[in-house]
Symmetry: C2
Subunit: 369 residues, 2 copies
């Protein structure tokens, strides 16, 4: 068990000061504290979602306020409002300073405003809505899915519990992953000699909001992109392309991945969070189809939670494996290893060029073998 201090994430809020454990103390007592800290992980979504539900973040986006002011504004109990705000401060979600009369004044840091705003480009509002509707029950009852394999009584894989409406919220709610992943991808493409000229075309298969293509278009000013997705999603992608100033180079296509033709001149074929939804069989089929659509010097870029068995303690492996557990809870897919991908690539006449680390994901680049 890894018990060394870690500095790989600045995001966590320690609730145990392990420096105060007695030297050479009981390993079981330390282990119990560590497990307790895992168990109370539920507190963080609890306070954040309650505050979002009550409109506290929207109110604080307008300016700092005391617990009394917020309680009046939101129609909530004063003491309970103070407890909630202090809890959010404990997680460093809110600032807390003493006002002139000694009462604490709470503030939402500017970089957090868009995070809670429904229309923010990198908003998590959709993720929160989805979690409110689906995640709590699913995680509370995970044991049932481990028993059944999340399969229906007929043996089929459980339907994804995410409704169409939730999916639309969720697809916007994970845009925030895109900037660091796109940066890693752009650097990787340049490092491997991929060039962007006026004749370069990319396809973004299952583009969602199109955020990855749209950020790449800003990186490569001559590149043009086609975003393929279902009818319900493409208007979101079109609207966002306008917002990001790349609408003239980003075209959406309503597309049935499996049956429609993708063309045969793609310089770049991008798959973000698509492969974890596949079975080994459908992954193989997808890569065969990609191989046919790819120009001779084209590159396939797969951004996903990809496990690298040779990097066992890596943050990317941990996230990948826990995301697989999340999908076991709510439906949706699995985490595959780079060894799985290598096999699928080889079977489709392709080969891996690079495997790059992003903050939570990995980016795999591949080309014709």
């Amino acid at each position: 068990m890894n018990t060394s201090a870690t500095t790989a994430s600045a995001n966590h809020t320690p609730l145990v000061d392990t420096a105060l454990f007695p030297e050479g103390g009981d390993g079981e007592v330390r282990a119990a504290h560590r497990l307790y800290e895992h168990l109370v992980g539920i507190w963080a979504p609890g306070v954040v979602e309650a505050a979002q539900d009550l409109g506290a973040f929207a109110a604080l986006t307008e300016g700092p306020a005391t617990a009394a002011q917020l309680s009046e504004r939101l129609g909530t109990d004063l003491r309970a409002t103070r407890v909630l705000l202090d809890g959010l401060h404990a997680y460093d979600v809110l600032g807390r300073a003493r006002g002139e009369d000694g009462q604490p004044v709470y503030s939402l840091p500017p970089e957090m405003h868009g995070v809670f705003a429904p229309g923010g480009l990198y908003s998590l509002a959709g993720k929160i809505t989805h979690d409110r509707n689906v995640a709590w029950d699913a995680w509370r009852n995970l044991a049932e899915n481990v028993r059944s394999g999340a399969r229906t009584s007929g043996g089929a894989q459980q339907l994804n519990q995410i409704s169409e409406e939730d999916y639309t919220a969720l697809v916007r709610g994970i845009n925030f992953w895109a900037p660091p992943i796109t940066q890693v991808l752009a650097e990787g493409l340049r490092a491997h000699g991929w060039t962007s000229g006026a004749d370069r075309r990319m396809i973004d298969v299952g583009c969602g909001t199109g955020i990855y293509s749209q950020l790449l278009l800003n990186e490569f000013p001559e590149l043009r992109a086609r975003g393929l997705d279902v009818e319900r999603i493409v208007p979101i992608a079109q609207e966002q392309a306008k917002r990001l100033g790349v609408a003239d180079r980003f075209r959406t296509e309503i597309c049935d991945f499996w049956n429609d033709d993708w063309g045969n001149d793609s310089s770049l074929a991008l798959f973000v969070n698509i492969f974890h939804l596949q079975t080994p069989e459908s992954a193989h089929e997808l890569l065969l189809k990609t191989s046919k659509s790819l120009a001779e010097d084209g590159v396939i870029a797969i951004a996903d939670h990809i496990v690298d068995e040779d990097e066992d303690g890596s943050t990317q492996n941990k996230f990948s494996r826990l995301f697989a557990a999340s999908m076991l809870a709510t439906g949706g897919g699995d985490a595959f290893t780079v060894q799985d991908y290598d096999q699928w690539l080889a079977d489709a006449g392709l080969r891996r060029i690079a495997l790059l680390d992003a903050p939570m994901h990995r980016v795999l680049l591949a080309g014709h073998a």
Copy 2:
């Protein structure tokens, strides 16, 4: 907002490698990753509780196993079992090594065995049972309690949602806090000249399992303790005193704190996690009663989640404030500040001697003014 890396806790599992963020990147994107990591805090209790429910930890206490072996033993789906075990490995709850045939073999580290065992001295099994029954719904619906103040329609404070049965489980399930707190307390007593002779008596008011007294009796071999609690709890304390070899010096008393006499010769009056359950009025009354029971050179020791407004970023403040939010969710009390305690002490003819940090709590020592 604090975005610096922290090493105060070795317990967390980072899921974002913040070192891979682009230099000078967008603050909102970083903030969104940080918030996401808070929101997925729900994953940790999800996987741990599912494994406990399914009996996976009990099985692994007997020895390492593959996913196939566990799935057969537990009657669970193979793929889903593998996903669950990999998730527990991601949180460093399970070890994972490659067996000779290449299949991962999962192991529960020895220091974790007692943590999941119902009868373990520092077991969290009772905490997990309580969380399964109460915590999920309570945290999911926290916003309701912030609106209502967790009060009944008649205006009274909400009844604690913890049933008697759950409380009995829970009171055993938080023993693990005791060893480092008791060590801090014993060192503090010695540092302030408190001595233990054959005539020294302590009372442990609301003793629960009696773990704090029992560990102190092991520190101070001439000390004798009386543990006061309700009828349902004292048999637990008696049994545990035997287990820890101090039954000859630990006596339980079924006691109504408010109406029964505590005597007047206590060298040490101990209150662990009692004051957070009080109102300011009942805290005042409790300290008045303590003052009367305390020998002239006696010491009052209060171990609780105590907020120190002068140490705003401290781990102890964060835990205190989040525990207050937890009590808002499930019922039970509040977090008071050291300034509150100082006022109550002064009103009862007492004065603070010391305020000491434990890994999650603070220990306040006081004596006659």
